[in-house]
């Protein structure tokens, strides 16, 4: 069986500004990987390029469950099995979480058991009271992340990319999110956790860690890589990987 997510030579730019410069990455089914990197390394861009946010121009390849998603509209990528948990989930005024979940079920052609499964999950995640409230409006950081996880469960994707799932959360909320990710682990799903800090990795048994810098994955390894990062910081690893790499700021200047 092919991997859940296979990314090859992925390049992406925003206008004239090149951000991803050939990303290679593979997340097999059943595994949870972490993608780490300093601010500005392109982690969030990778998320949105995979999801198909229209402002980026992309080339290369991204296979979700064997389907090439580059070039597809955003919704077709979701139907191919890609889920992106947003770092900043967007508020949708006047649309309740229940309405959104119902629309998602209809759009996915979900079967009769869909709603009872979703409701049970909402109950379990203590989100039942939020079903009747507008999507992401007035929710705390932790509540937004839980709401994203509920939508993930409803869609049953092949690949879950969770962008900064732990940012802005207190330690209890990080534990909760980590537990939710562990609970999702399944032979039908590959998870890519995007994170700046190694904190959440204390609570999740990740199978692999990838380190990104200046638009490329510069190191991949086991969980110990996160420990090395914590000890030495990103700078040391970036210098070690690409001693001649120009400072990231140059790319920005070139883009002007």
């Amino acid at each position: 069986m092919s991997a859940a997510l296979v990314v090859r030579g992925l390049q992406a730019s925003l206008g004239d500004l090149a951000i991803l410069k050939g990303v290679d990455l593979e997340v097999p089914y059943g595994e949870v990987h972490a993608l780490m990197g300093p601010n500005g390394s392109g982690k969030s861009t990778l998320c949105h390029v995979l999801m198909g946010q229209p402002e980026y121009t992309a080339s290369g390849s991204a296979l979700v469950g064997g389907t090439e998603v580059l070039g597809l509209p955003v919704d077709a990528r979701a139907r191919a099995g890609l889920f992106l948990g947003f770092q900043y989930p967007v508020e949708v005024p006047g649309v309740t979480l229940r309405e959104l979940l119902e629309e998602m079920g209809q759009a996915a052609g979900a079967g009769a058991g869909y709603w009872s499964t979703v409701e049970a999950a909402a109950e379990r995640m203590a989100l039942a009271p939020f079903l009747g409230r507008p999507v992401n409006e007035g929710l705390s950081g932790g509540e937004k992340k839980r709401s994203e996880m509920l939508q993930l469960l409803a869609l049953r994707p092949r690949v879950a990319v969770l962008d900064e799932i732990d940012s802005g959360l207190d330690i209890d909320a990080v534990r909760e999110v980590a537990a939710a990710v562990e609970a999702m682990r399944s032979p039908d799903l590959g998870v890519l956790l995007i994170t700046h800090y190694s904190r959440i990795l204390r609570y999740i048994a990740v199978d692999r860690v990838h380190v990104m810098a200046a638009g490329r994955v510069i190191r991949s390894g086991g969980k110990e890589l996160a420990g090395a990062l914590e000890a030495g910081g990103y700078d040391a690893m970036v210098r070690e990987a690409e001693p001649a790499a120009p400072p990231a700021a140059d790319d920005f200047l070139q883009g002007l």
Binding site: M51, D75, A78, F86, V90, V92, P93, L100, E103
Partner: protein, 427 residues
């Protein structure tokens, strides 16, 4: 059919009580003297009127009423009363025991004294040539009267229909809510599609001390109707006015609204949800006048335009020197759903008192691409995502409409309007 001539005017005026005739005479005089609307006037900016009033005729007798709107009547449950005016003639009135909902013609004959302070107290004949025509030639309408202290729990339903091709329909609604009384009214405007006609309804509402009236207008004129409605609402000390309008119909539909907060402590809440399509112009001219201390008002209108439709909102809050300690807010938000569509939003303030709180806000924007992207990332195609966003856009204003029973109906109509937009033009 009767032409708009002096002879017709004389016939109409003869049916009015003596005391009301001067207003009809003033109407005819203004009708003869006033020029047609001119887009160079601020009052008619952004609007192409394209009506030759003089070529229109009055329906001497009403056409058959339109089929009942079962969904609306069902939503209202058991209205306290139901009146139907067709082509200017009130053809049916039913009212629960003790509810004073009557045809205006007979009421003028039978109860002139009660009506004297209210009838034609509203929009004046010189407002424009349409108002002049109304004063000169209107014969009938509906009178709703809540005597002192009377409080109705169910709303009354008033239907203004126009059916005759090339006619001018001039229905009038006169509402008197005496001190301490409270009630609600739903006004439904309708005409058949494809029948070219002009409607000039006038609505006048007088609300006494500590009294309250909620008016919900559902504007569903047919697609060949040009409607120029004038409405005034006046509140005495601690009186409360609510006006909510859902604007959907007409090829060119105007609502000229004036609210007078005459007594200290009076309050007005004005809500609006409108959605124009095809080549419609939906045109709102709202005037909020604070004429006494501690008066409060809030206008909140949301609209969308698709295809090559146009919307106009010009709102004025005027706080008179007597209006110290007033609080007024005016908000108008617009969604523009197609390149050929346009929304004009022109809020104005005129503040002549120094101790007031007053604000306004207005936006004109396309659908939010961030929301679209987020919703599509959940597997919704762009049409589904945009539809949900449009539904969500209207949600907060619908929630504030006074008749909660109408909310599902109005939501359905607004979403159906979005669904009917020409796909290739919406984005």
């Amino acid at each position: 059919m009767l032409p708009l001539t002096e002879q017709t005017f004389a016939r109409v005026a003869a049916t009015l009580p003596e005391w009301a005739r001067p207003s009809a005479a003033a109407g005819y005089e203004a009708f003869s003297a006033l020029p047609p609307p001119d887009p160079r006037q601020e009052e008619w900016r952004y609007v192409e009127v394209e009506v030759d009033l003089d070529s229109l005729q009055l329906a001497e007798s009403p056409g058959p009423p339109l089929p009942p709107d079962v969904a609306l009547i069902g939503a209202l449950g058991e209205p306290a009363g139901h009146a139907i005016n067709v082509d200017g003639h009130t053809v049916a009135v039913e009212a629960a025991d003790g509810v004073r909902l009557t045809a205006l013609g007979p009421a003028l004959a039978a109860d002139g004294e009660t009506l004297r302070g209210v009838f034609r107290s509203g929009p004046g004949p010189r407002l424009d040539r349409f108002a002049a025509a109304h004063h000169a030639f209107a014969t009938d309408g509906v009178f709703f009267h809540l005597p002192r202290g009377r409080r109705l729990s169910a709303p009354v339903l008033v239907e203004f229909q126009a059916t005759r091709a090339n006619s001018l329909a001039l229905p009038r609604l006169t509402v008197l809510v005496e001190d301490g009384a409270a009630g609600a009214l739903v006004l439904h405007y309708r005409s058949p599609s494809g029948v070219p006609l002009v409607a000039v309804p006038q609505v006048e509402v007088v609300v006494g001390q500590n009294a309250r009236l909620e008016v919900s207008v559902i504007q569903e004129w047919g697609d060949a109707t040009r409607a120029y409605a004038h409405q005034t609402m006046v509140a005495a000390r601690d009186g409360a006015l609510v006006l909510a309008e859902a604007g959907l119909g007409g090829v060119n539909a105007r609502l000229h609204l004036r609210l007078d907060l005459e007594g200290p402590g009076a309050d007005a809440q004005v809500l609006g949800a409108y959605f124009g399509h095809r080549r419609q112009t939906l045109d709102y001219r709202y005037y909020m006048l604070h004429r006494a201390r501690h008066t409060t008002s809030n206008m909140y209108l949301k609209g969308a335009v698709g295809d090559t439709a146009r919307s106009v909102f010009t709102g004025l809050i005027r706080i008179e020197p007597e209006g110290q300690d007033s609080d007024a807010m005016q908000t108008n938000k617009n969604l523009v759903l197609a390149e050929g569509a346009e929304a004009h939003s022109v809020p104005n303030l005129e503040i002549l008192a120094n101790e007031v709180r007053c604000g306004h806000g207005s936006t004109v924007s396309p659908l939010d691409p961030e929301q679209r992207y987020y919703l599509m990332s959940r597997g919704l195609d762009s049409a589904r995502a945009d539809r949900l966003q449009v539904k969500g856009f209207f949600e907060d204003v619908l929630a504030r409409f006074p008749q909660a029973a109408l909310e599902p109906l109005l939501r359905r109509s607004l979403v159906a309007r979005y669904d009917g937009l020409q796909r290739e033009q919406s984005r």
